[in-house]
Amino acid sequence: MSAGANKGLIAGIDVGGTFTDVFVLDQSSGEYLTGKVPSRRDDPAAAVADGLSTLLADMGALKTVVHGTTVGTNALLERRGARTGIITTRGFRDVLEMRRRDRPATWGLRGSFEPVVPRDRRIEVVERVLADGTVLEAVDPDAVRAAARHLLDLGAEALCIFFVNSYANDANERAALDAVREVWPNDHVTSAASILSEIREFERCSTGALNAYLQPVVGAYLARLQGTLHSNGFAGKTFIVQSNGGAMSVEQAQAVPVKTALSGPAAGVVAAARIAGAAGYANVITCDMGGTSFDVSLVADGQSALAAQTAVDFGMVIRSPMIEINTIGAGGGSIAWVDRAGLLQIGPESAGADPGPACYGKGNERPTVTDANLVLGRINADRPIGGALETLDENAARAALDGHVAGPLGLDPMAAAEAVIRVANARMAGAIRLVSIERGHDPRNFVAMPFGGGGALHIGALIRDVGLASALVPRFPGVTSALGCLMADMRHDRVNTLNVALDDVDPALVEADMRHTMAEGETILRQGGMLLDRIEGEFTLDMLYAGQTHTVSVPISLGEAGGLTREIIAAAFDTAYTRSYGRLLEGISRRIVSLRSAVIGRRPATDLSVFAAPVGGSLEDAILGERDVWSDGGWQRAIIYDRAALPRGTRVLGPAIIEQLDTTIFIDPGLAGEIDHFGNVVIREAAD
């Protein structure tokens, strides 16, 4: 990229467990650069700077950095958050530890749970608000200050204030927050209702406590990141991708780090939705296959499905809208084994990146999915992706499969390798069915988009198994999340609990709530300073029939002619309910549980035609060679192509392999891959 073209550079950065991926785009010329450097556990910010400096001589030309981070996720999973305290209502200090009275596994009573805030750092004060918002007992600021001082004496660095029923009236929580600020030495103070103003005490307390727990860690990381980037000459703005796929400013991220828990994976889904949308597909199932897991997410009509909450681990619940991603333990490093009933199983145990699959020769002798792919000839032993290894040890892979699968099952070695792939595929297909067929979507209307290192090896089998229309392999599957960071819209969310019968609701008040959130969101989004096309509000009501406990999402909008009315809400509910369950129920009153608002700052669209494949040239020129690939019970001769050299509009017939630096695509016999106008490989039945 020439110096002159460095005007309006924007960088998307995804820090993963193994690699830090960078995608830099020149917004004026459409030129782009991609980079991949090893992540650094000790100093993730340094890897970001490394990644950027390998691509850019001068970071001064960079205007914007948008970042997907796993710092928060890892701190939660590894319990490396800050020493945190909780100040709470008298009688309720164990809410965090009692959870919703659950257990980790249906069978076997061996569970345990250690809350991130231990019991001695949960201090009670006298105060009480009733469910209708009445203040029964006002909080005493002196008692709160005393509790805060006690927590400081115990070494607390961060604090969460959580009071029962604060969703209905947060006056006591706010008064306590004001009192604490007078004595607390830093900004790491969270009031639970300010993060989540929604009924359900455990979920609100957990979300608030995890936020406080993350504040010092994520705050320090982001400060360090900005310092590192600035010392390299970067003078622009930094943004962070939230779990809901929208971006927020660094300042926001420091205040609500709990919203970054699924930052990186969410960015990947954003990119997949945009890439597929540009190629003309509004319905996508994203399939991210990494070393230890397979993550599936559904995009319908261009919209990602959002989940209201997730559990990062048993009892670690975050209730905040996030892109719904279903994870199963079936990645390239997942171990294949035969259980005591003689059934072949894949995962959830994984060899990870270190020691990695048996073929890495780094000490693991049990077979993995990657070992099976290698033995079947689908991976090139001399060209491992990622670049960390020179070659892969095929003999080690075969020995592992012989000893742990072929022997116990009485299969010959090749059949054993194929069995591992088929069972892994069946599990992945199950995960796809879960998000599609089980949610009432017809798979024939969806395309699959594989990303991550391994997805493209399995995607042909998956679309056949589930009955998907086709698969779209993007130009850079290995840096999809980084690309997604570039594309993410700005977003601000809010939930208000209403808990009222439809017949009793005042629609004018609901509308006033919507306008208030819209104004608040606009202010926050504008403060970020990101270039935005426009700002939109998306509103849904969580509604149900009186007596039910599970809600349906009912979309409503601001600016109805004549204002929002009960009739409009009723009609919207009936439509949504019919779509979910088929038939309406007569004579039962409808209730509104809560209002969910999202204020979205739309970014200018990224022109994806920049990824288009070269025009002209021939299929033959892209051939790298041939090799035998095992498929459907026998060896078949497959041609190997170089992805970068495949010209636009050409069609590759399976069995074939397409190689590129960050992934390997396997086109099964009977399938064909076509290079579209945006550089994607579209895989479908050759006969279609």
């Binding site: 009688g91 309720f92 200090r93 164990d94 809410v95 530890e97 009692m98 919703r100 009275r101 659950d102 257990r103 249906t106 069978w107 076997g108 009573l109 061996r110 569970g111 345990s112 749970f113 231990p118 019991r119 001695d120 009733l130 469910a131 029964l136 029962v164 969703y167 209905a168 009924i199 005490e201 455990f202 979920e203 259980d339 005591r340 009933a341 003689g342 059934l343 072949l344 199983q345 299969l411 194929e418 069995a419 088929r422 069972v423 069946a426 599990r427 199950g430 069915r433 089980e438 808990n499 029939y545 007596g547 039910q548 406990t549 599970h550 979910s580 369950y581 038939r583 129920l585 039962i588």
Partner: protein, 577 residues
């Protein structure tokens, strides 16, 4: 037909997914929170001739996994007895607990799946309805002496005949419930689940063929049986016994013995319940099918890797005498079946702990504590707050027991107290872990809970159906017992405990009065004196145990701040020195 290992693994997942999807459909669309939130429901595929469980969902209520095969079998027997002919689209409905297991609240829907004109297998759905009549709202009547006082009893009848809904049956069901709307919503959810299951199964059969799928299901059962045999043969041969007690039956205040002798020989296990009390007057009887289902649940907890199908029980024999508490017949009341089921599970744990302690854990809190508060609001509307409460799980070889878990027979979560306060005129004044409730042990039992509830309306009645007020959850491998269940309600402003300890009807409350429930923790694992003094001190510092318990139960002398008096502790633990 032998089935290749790959198809087997693939079809196992596909079949389970069908059952799971049926579960999910009902949970989402159910009306009553006992199904929607507590997941007190289950779905599966059952053998066309024997009714044996072929495939069961992973998300349904564990106790049903064992019970549903009896429900399907009772429909098969009914059809044969009556000489009825099954047609595609038929659905039978019933809640008879003596044949089909569990209690009257659980309505079972059974549907034959046809292939080539013959019954290929059955699909079934069971769900706990909110109210099925009887003397007590919610049907936990602790003073019932006949099932007629517990609710309506429906024998197997055809709800759908060849796809046609019999509306008169729906009308009969609705007329017999205090909550007809909830009933209607739940019934619809179960029908939806069966429709979906039929569709998915037909697709799968079209794809893989009837014979392959049948062979797979047979093979999965054979393998579960084989795996169970392997587990049993790894246990030492011998007879291993346990005896536990129910507090009383709610009618007569005398303990009821559950005596179990497990004989293990040559990879088979015989569970002999001959030392168990006779059927009782009150509602803690269970049917034989329920007793067998309880054992199934206990064994699945001890050997969680065995696939969930009928094969689990192949190497198991039962001796359950006729007329016993565990083989009740109509019209003996069975409404409190959960308490007896939990006690059977506890005896299996304790008996097996003598054969293989590391496989088991201290007993869990062992009572469902069905507590309801009911009254009328100022505007005359009736309200009923009905919920089950939690307690501790037992210590185990890998660590301390879980604090505040759900019962071993269920995966139910507790409703948020904020939702209860928003829905009913009550406020909780305490919702906390209960110190000193976990059984002492090298691995301590998890803590039970304290729930204290204040009435905000003028007047209400309270009902409680609980247990473990007289006999605490035992530990295993030398671990101590957990605390007893304790319930207090006000009489003339003074807190008292019910005469039957944890069972009581019609307790009257006025505005501002409180009831207080303190639930047991779990039993300990291993001798308490083997617990490291610093771990005992940490428990004191965090308030899980008191200074008194540290000294009495653990022989550790420690102050409130968690500072151990090492010489004094040494002297207590090893007086010889």
């Amino acid at each position: 037909m032998s089935i290749d290992p790959v198809t087997l693994a693939v079809l196992q997942g596909r079949l389970e997914q069908i059952a799971d999807e049926m579960d999910a459909t009902l949970f989402r669309s159910a009306f009553n929170p006992i199904i929607a939130e507590a997941h007190d429901a289950s779905h599966g595929l059952y053998d066309a001739e024997t009714g044996e469980t072929l495939v069961q969902g992973k998300t349904g209520l564990p106790i049903f996994v064992g019970a549903m095969s009896f429900a399907v079998k009772s429909v098969i027997d009914h059809v044969a007895r009556q000489g009825e002919t099954l047609s595609p689209g038929d659905i039978y409905i019933f809640n008879d607990p003596y044949d089909g297991g569990t209690h009257l609240s659980d309505f079972k829907l059974v549907r034959p799946v046809f292939r080539s004109g013959r019954v290929y297998c059955f699909l079934a759905s069971v769900g706990h309805w909110h109210d099925v009549g009887g003397n007590v709202p919610g049907n936990y009547n602790p003073v019932a002496t006949e099932s007629f006082q517990e609710g309506m009893l429906i024998p197997p009848v055809r709800l759908f005949v060849a796809g046609e809904l019999q509306r008169d049956i729906v009308a009969i069901l609705q007329a017999n419930s205090r909550l007809p709307t909830s009933l209607y919503g739940d019934l619809n959810g179960q029908i939806n689940a069966l429709d979906l299951g039929e569709r998915r199964l037909q697709e799968l059969l079209d794809e893989y063929g009837d014979i392959t799928v049948a062979a797979t299901m047979n093979e999965l059962q054979a393998r579960a049986g084989g795996m169970m045999s392997t587990h049993i043969s790894e246990l030492p041969d011998g007879v291993f016994s346990a005896t536990d007690y129910l507090d009383n039956d709610g009618i007569v205040d005398e303990p009821l013995t559950i005596g179990l002798d497990i004989a293990i020989t040559d990879g088979r296990m015989t569970l002999d319940f001959s030392r168990t009390a006779s059927a009782c007057a009150g509602p803690v009887n269970i049917a034989r099918s329920t007793a067998i289902a309880s054992v199934y649940v206990a064994l699945k907890h001890v050997f969680p890797d065995v696939p969930a199908n009928a094969g689990v029980l192949r190497p198991i024999d039962f001796i359950i005498p006729d007329g016993s508490l565990l083989a009740a017949e109509a019209p003996k009341p069975v409404g409190g079946y959960t308490e007896t089921v939990l006690r059977v599970i506890d005896t299996v744990f304790v008996a097996l702990s003598k054969a293989a302690p590391e496989r088991t854990s201290g007993c869990a809190y062992g009572t469902i504590n069905a507590l309801s508060l009911a009254g009328h609001r100022r505007d005359g509307r009736r309200w009923v707050m009905f919920s089950f409460y939690g307690g501790g799980h037992g210590g185990h070889v890998d660590g301390d027991g879980l604090n505040h878990g759900n019962a071993p027979i269920s995966m139910a979560t507790i409703p948020p107290l904020e939702i209860l306060e928003a829905a009913y005129p009550v406020r909780f004044t305490e919702w906390a872990l209960r110190p000193d409730s976990g059984g002492p042990g090298e691995q301590r039992g998890g803590c039970g809970a304290i729930y204290e509830i204040e009435l905000l309306e003028e007047q209400a009645d309270a009902f409680l159906f609980g247990e473990r007020g007289r006999f605490a959850p035992p530990g295993v491998a030398g671990g101590g017992s957990a605390a007893l269940n304790k319930f207090e309600y006000p009489v003339d402003g003074v807190p008292v405990t019910p005469p039957m300890s944890s069972k009581m009807v019609g307790m009257n409350l006025v505005k501002g009065e409180r009831v207080r429930l303190e639930t047991p923790g779990g039993g300990g694992y291993g001798p308490a004196t083997a617990r490291a003094p610093e771990k005992v001190a940490e428990d004191v510092r965090l308030g899980y145990i008191s200074v008194v318990s540290a000294q009495r139960d653990y022989a550790v002398v420690v102050d409130e701040a968690g500072v151990v008096d090492a010489p004094a502790t040494q002297a207590l633990r090893d007086p010889a020195l």
